[in-house]
């Protein structure tokens, strides 16, 4: 049984049918990517899965549990969280306080220190800036903080929405390295990206989303070799 099963998901924005009944799954230990152009419905899909925006139809199952109607804050307690598009860190809080917010669902105070140390070890930059107000961080640092904050809740499934957006090429490579590394540590990854080349290279499987529908799926390798993906998303 897959870890996350999305079946016939439909989402409306007002009268517009943004997602027109898509189905896909994520197995434990995988990196799965949804690629697609701007406006294809990637972020809408991600936000409706965790319950940030309401679903019009379909079902979502996480580890065998139906979470179609579960409110977002409870979904997070089940072990699934998201690094949202645009990072959305808490700008008025310090780096340290942001990380604490990430551990909000963690009732076990004893592991908090260890968790913080693990995040600081992975992102040394965050430790250097732990008492700095998060709004003053650079874009790359904010992305690190958003990822660190999400990891504080010990997710079994981590969803990342456009983690490479607005970052310099060097940082983009670094972000993909970190995603691979998080996955090696046992966390399942669902990734949404416009950077199709880099994301397909690290993905076990991928789906192509166009106008609210899945038009193609396969392994990362298959898709990066597919004529259609190369034309539309890889520039030739």
């Amino acid at each position: 049984m897959a870890m996350l099963e999305v079946h016939d998901l439909e989402v409306n924005y007002g009268v517009i049918r943004a997602i027109k009944g898509i189905s896909f799954e994520v197995n434990e230990g995988e990196i799965v990517t949804l690629i697609g152009a701007n406006g294809a419905g990637k972020t809408t899909t991600m936000q409706s899965i965790v319950g940030l925006i309401p679903k019009k139809g379909g079902t979502v199952t996480f580890q065998g549990e139906d979470i179609t109607k579960t409110p977002c804050h409870k979904v997070v307690h089940l072990g699934m969280t998201q690094v949202p598009e645009g990072r959305r860190i808490f700008q008025e809080l310090t780096v340290y306080e942001n990380l604490l917010m990430g551990a909000y669902s963690n009732k076990n105070k004893a592991t908090l220190k260890e968790d913080l140390q693990a995040i600081y070890a992975r992102f040394p930059r965050l430790e250097e800036r732990k008492n700095q107000v998060a709004g003053t961080l650079s874009g790359g640092e904010q992305q690190m903080l958003a990822m660190g904050r999400a990891l504080m809740s010990h997710p079994k499934l981590l969803m990342l929405d456009e983690p490479s957006m607005g970052l310099s090429p060097l940082l983009v490579d670094q972000v993909f390295e970190i995603i691979k590394d998080i996955n090696k540590g046992g966390t399942t990854i669902l990734l949404v990206e416009q950077n199709a080349g880099k994301s397909l290279a690290i993905s076990d499987r991928a789906y192509v989303l166009e106008n609210g529908e899945i038009v193609l799926s396969g392994t990362g390798k298959e898709l990066s070799e597919s004529e259609m993906v190369r034309k539309a998303y890889l520039g030739g």
Partner: protein
């Protein structure tokens, strides 16, 4: 010397405004709504105090806080919560409706005649200075309350969650924060502060009517906007500033009749120069 007394009186009155302003500003910051029934929570607190003060003053304060918190949470649950996501105008009209409802209920229960209860705690004579003891208690208590609120927001899990929700509801939910619970806590804190403010305002005016909360409510709302609505330090600064201005105006016979006009003019001037208020921040635009 006279000026010193004026200043202490002003800070004391400002402390009352600040405590009420905190209720407006926190609810605005977290639920993104203007709770125009907030002033009437002060009135609810005032009547509760009037009812229990013959029994025991401490009991009266505790009862007022508990009762105001219950009323505040109930109003939020039944009037505002069903309108989450509705247009701001619908919420605003509902708040005005709740305000009328609370005033009418008070009128049914207590009648429309003003109730007067003289409470004289005496005055303190320091050399040439003569300051009412109630003024000092008000000042000291409001400072303690504001300090406690600051520490609560800065150093507790729920307090930080309040900051997170006010900044980004969606991201807060992704942390596992129950936004509805945080909004309820905010209303509870705001109502408790209104009850305390109601006590001190009653010590000042000693007259209880169903519109008891209207004037301090509108003054405190002005203070919250002057300080920057949504900002907790802003509400404190705005409240204290407005209290001192009011006290100074009242102490000068030539302009004392224009006190309210001067206070609201300050609001207009500050909004013209700095539309976000003194300590308000411009919210980043969301894409």
């Amino acid at each position: 010397m006279d000026f010193l007394i004026t200043l202490v009186n002003g800070l004391s009155l400002g402390g009352i405004y600040a405590m009420i302003a905190l209720g407006y500003t926190m609810v605005y910051g977290i639920a993104k709504m203007l709770n125009f029934a907030h002033g009437d929570i002060i009135m609810v607190g005032g009547y509760t105090i009037l009812l229990f003060i013959p029994v025991n003053p401490v009991l009266a304060i505790v009862a007022a806080i508990v009762f105001c918190v219950i009323v505040g949470i109930t109003v939020e649950k039944f009037a505002y919560k069903p309108l989450r996501g509705a247009s701001p105008l619908a919420v605003l009209i509902t708040a005005i409706g709740v305000s009328t409802l609370l005033q009418s209920l008070a009128q049914v229960i207590f009648g429309s005649a003003p109730k007067i209860q003289q409470i004289n705690l005496g005055a303190l004579q320091l050399g040439e200075l003569k300051i009412e003891i109630s003024t000092i208690i008000t000042l000291v208590c409001s400072v303690i309350v504001m300090l406690a609120l600051h520490l609560f927001v800065k150093y507790t899990k729920v307090g930080r969650a309040m900051v997170a929700v006010s900044e980004d509801k969606g991201a807060a939910q992704l942390m596992g924060i129950n936004v509805n619970f945080i909004i309820m806590i905010t209303f509870a804190i705001g109502s408790a502060l209104a009850a305390i403010a109601g006590l001190f305002y009653f010590l000042k005016v000693q007259t209880m009517t169903t519109t008891f909360g209207a004037l301090p409510g509108i003054k405190a709302f002005t203070a919250a906007v002057i300080g920057g609505i949504g900002s907790i330090p802003g509400a404190m600064v705005g409240g204290l500033l407005l209290g001192v201005v009011e006290s100074i105006c009242l102490s000068i016979p030539a302009i004392s009749a224009y006190t309210d006009a001067i206070e609201f003019s300050i609001l207009i001037i500050i909004l013209l120069v700095k539309p976000t208020g003194l300590l308000g921040k411009k919210r980043r635009e969301k894409v």
